[in-house]
């Protein structure tokens, strides 16, 4: 029994192709049932987001199963297979496990560490559960993927630093002020970006907002929205000393804030630090303001630079996450193999026992003159022979399982002896027994 996945993502396919193979939510149920009905597949699950479409499945034969998934993807969306060629990836066994864990932990996302993908996979899993297309293996598999994602999130700093410009501004403010609770913000102008950034600040604890605009009515409207206070544009420099954070995005063609004004404000506020965010292009704030002590000025490019630095930091954290995932893959594959080791041994014993009984019957039928004692001796001899023969291989298989290397033996035994192997009913116990 194996796990495999076929799919495409933002890394392998352009959006023009991704939108063609996406599964609309209202048609997902039907697609799941069609997919589950395919012969080589035991359990199926469909992940469909704007950045990736992936079909997960379990079945006895990974090669045949993957081919079925591939054909289904093309067939269902009525695309020629050639159109998907080169864009699809397929993983099986440990590689499929790694892929799912990396996707769930947001290591494969466009923005590493973004949290949405985990929710999307959880929804995909819920759908599959609802339509009963997942069973023992995929249930356990996805629960494991969720817990790995959680572990990555808590044990690494992968989602630690802001990757949007407006949130980067909030984080910078925290670096400067420690906490931004109780700090006061001045909004100059009323651009959309400015409003968004202001909202981020308010949501993160800033509780006093001043708004100014050349059109006083607009300032008043915006002030109402933030339950703040509107000030006349000509008067705003007089309020500069009261505010800790200044967000500016006017349409002015020359600077509206000059170093002298800021210096004056600093004197009045006894050098308590100030943070200026200039979102306007052309810029509103004279860059020389940044040279003043205890003043930090960031324009759009600077904020973008912070975001880029943060992304680099996330990539570093991702290396730690990969280690966690490698460790968890080992754990999960040994569980998966454990699922088959005990039933394989049982099937082998059953098969040999059947052969022994048949041979005994034949022998006793031919040799009617044997007395009870002789019959028993022959029976004991055959039983001992079977036990001695099977003892070695059984031991070897259990040892291999402990080292995560049972799969080739299980496959070989099943093929050599033509065994029909079901799955253990209680896989957890089969793991713990050894």
């Amino acid at each position: 029994m194996d796990i495999f996945v076929v799919g495409l993502s933002h890394k392998t396919a352009p959006v023009a192709l991704r939108e063609k193979v996406a599964f609309a939510p209202e048609r997902l149920a039907q697609a799941l049932h069609q997919l589950a009905a395919l012969a080589p597949l035991r359990e199926v699950l469909i992940v469909s987001t704007c950045n990736r479409v992936e079909l997960y499945a379990s079945g006895p034969d990974a090669a045949a199963g993957s081919a079925a998934l591939r054909d289904f993807l093309a067939g269902y969306h009525q695309l020629p297979a050639s159109e998907l060629n080169g864009h699809l990836y397929a993983h099986q066994g440990p590689s499929a496990i790694r892929h799912a864990f990396r996707v769930a932990a947001s290591l494969d996302s466009m923005v590493i560490g973004e949290p949405q993908i985990l929710g999307q996979i959880k929804t995909a899993y819920q759908n599959a559960v609802e339509h009963k297309t997942v069973g023992l293996i995929l249930n356990r598999f996805f629960h494991k993927a969720f817990s790995v994602a959680k572990r990555v999130r808590t044990e690494t700093n992968i989602a630690g630093n802001a990757v949007s410009v407006s949130f980067a501004a909030v984080e910078l403010a925290r670096k400067i002020f420690g906490s931004i609770e109780g700090k006061k913000v001045l909004l100059i102008g009323a651009g959309e970006m400015c409003e968004l950034a202001a909202r981020h600040f308010v949501n993160n604890g800033v509780d006093r907002v001043l708004v100014t605009n050349r059109t006083f009515a607009r300032a008043e409207a915006l002030a109402r929205e933030f339950s703040g206070q509107a000030v006349l544009f000509d008067n705003f420099p007089d309020h500069l000393h009261q505010v800790d954070i200044v967000l500016s995005s006017t349409g002015a063609t020359s600077f509206v804030i000059h170093p002298q004004q800021v210096q004056q404000a600093l004197r009045q506020r006894k050098n308590r630090p100030m943070f200026f965010i200039d979102i306007a292009v052309p810029r509103d704030i004279d860059p020389r303001v940044n040279d003043l002590n205890n003043v930090y000025l960031y324009d759009v490019d600077d904020l973008q630079g912070v975001v880029n630095a943060n992304l680099k930091e996330r990539h570093k954290e991702a290396e730690q996450a990969e280690q966690i995932i490698e460790h968890e893959i080992g754990q999960f594959s040994s569980w998966l193999q454990g699922l088959q080791v005990v039933p394989t041994i049982a099937a082998l014993r059953r098969k040999v026992e059947e052969l022994r009984q048949a041979e005994l019957e034949r022998t006793f039928g031919n040799l009617k003159e044997l007395d009870e004692r002789q019959r028993r001796a022959i029976e004991a001899m055959s039983a001992a022979l079977v036990n001695k023969l099977l003892h070695g291989p059984t031991q070897r298989l259990r040892e291999a399982q402990k080292q995560d290397q049972a799969q080739p033996y299980v496959d070989a035994l099943q093929q050599l002896f033509e065994l029909e192997v079901g799955l253990a009913d209680e896989p957890l116990r089969t793991l713990d027994e050894h």
Partner: protein, 275 residues
């Protein structure tokens, strides 16, 4: 016995430094309790070292260079443990632990044996005067470490170039408030240290102040910190300027402690290399 304990404490400080380093590099603040526990353990063993030495020698062990270094390291470990207990600043922990380690190593490379007490030091003022002075020194050392990282981080925020260190440092506000707290505790400690010394001098030598090098340098250092405290309280000196003051102040503290002992002979020459 106390020398063996000293070596155990030295080893534990090394462990605390390494644990803090691992925690800082991996940026897992929740793991920093390991290094803090190691530091607390090292501090405890070090306390025991001083107690045993006190019992073995029969006087407060602050009378020669080895004892002074050990005592300085001990006060620094104690003060930093207090400051960092809630804040958990791994980078500062690495730096401070390294400083402690250097003091301890230096102290282990010079004669460590106890000697008969110089009669001039046989007074109940000895633990009071030296205790206050070193406690003040330790507090100023923490301010120095916070000051360095304030400047480093301020530079990064101004130039908008962020290294890995940036993601591991507490906010500027935290670093600056450490500077302020240390000043408000360190300055009174230092003041009382100087006054207690003057009172002791009066009772021992009949004069409050005799301008020996240590007294002179301590006074200069005191004026420096007095200026910073005044500036902070009245005109709002803070941030970068306060950090620079804390760094310069520490250099004076260090010179008053070590430089004077090793270079300038005077009334305080008990704790030179010769012991």
């Amino acid at each position: 016995m106390n020398i063996l304990l000293y070596k155990v404490a030295l080893l534990l400080y090394l462990v605390a430094t390494l644990l803090a380093l691992v925690s800082a590099v991996r940026n897992r603040p929740e793991r920093s309790s390991w290094s803090m526990t190691a530091l607390l353990l090292a501090f405890t063993v070090h306390s025991l070292t001083l107690l045993v030495r006190y019992l073995e020698a029969g006087y407060t062990p602050v009378t020669n260079l080895h004892e002074s270094l050990s005592f300085f390291a001990w006060t620094l470990a104690g003060v930093f443990t207090l400051v960092n207990w809630r804040l958990r600043m791994d980078v500062l922990a690495v730096t401070t632990c390294t400083l402690i380690l250097v003091l301890m190593l230096f102290g282990s490379l010079i004669p460590m044996q106890t000697q008969p007490l110089n009669p001039a030091l046989d007074s109940f003022w000895l633990p009071i005067h030296v205790g206050l002075a070193f406690l003040g020194n330790a507090v100023f050392t923490v301010a120095f470490v916070a000051g360095i990282f304030y400047l480093v981080q301020e530079r990064m925020l101004k130039s908008k170039k962020f290294s890995a260190l940036y993601y591991r440092l507490p906010s500027l506000e935290t670093l600056d408030s450490i500077n302020y707290r240390c000043l408000t505790f360190g300055f009174p400690l230092m003041t009382m240290g100087i006054i207690s010394g003057a009172v002791w001098a009066e009772s021992a030598w009949g004069t409050y102040w005799s301008w020996d090098p240590k007294e002179a340098w301590a006074l200069i250092t005191w004026f420096l910190y007095a200026a910073l405290l005044h500036g902070r309280l009245t005109v709002g000196w803070r941030g970068r300027r306060a950090a620079i003051f804390a760094i310069i102040g520490f250099l004076f503290v260090l010179f008053t402690f070590l430089g004077v002992n090793l270079l300038l002979p005077g009334l305080h020459s008990y704790s030179s290399m010769a012991g």
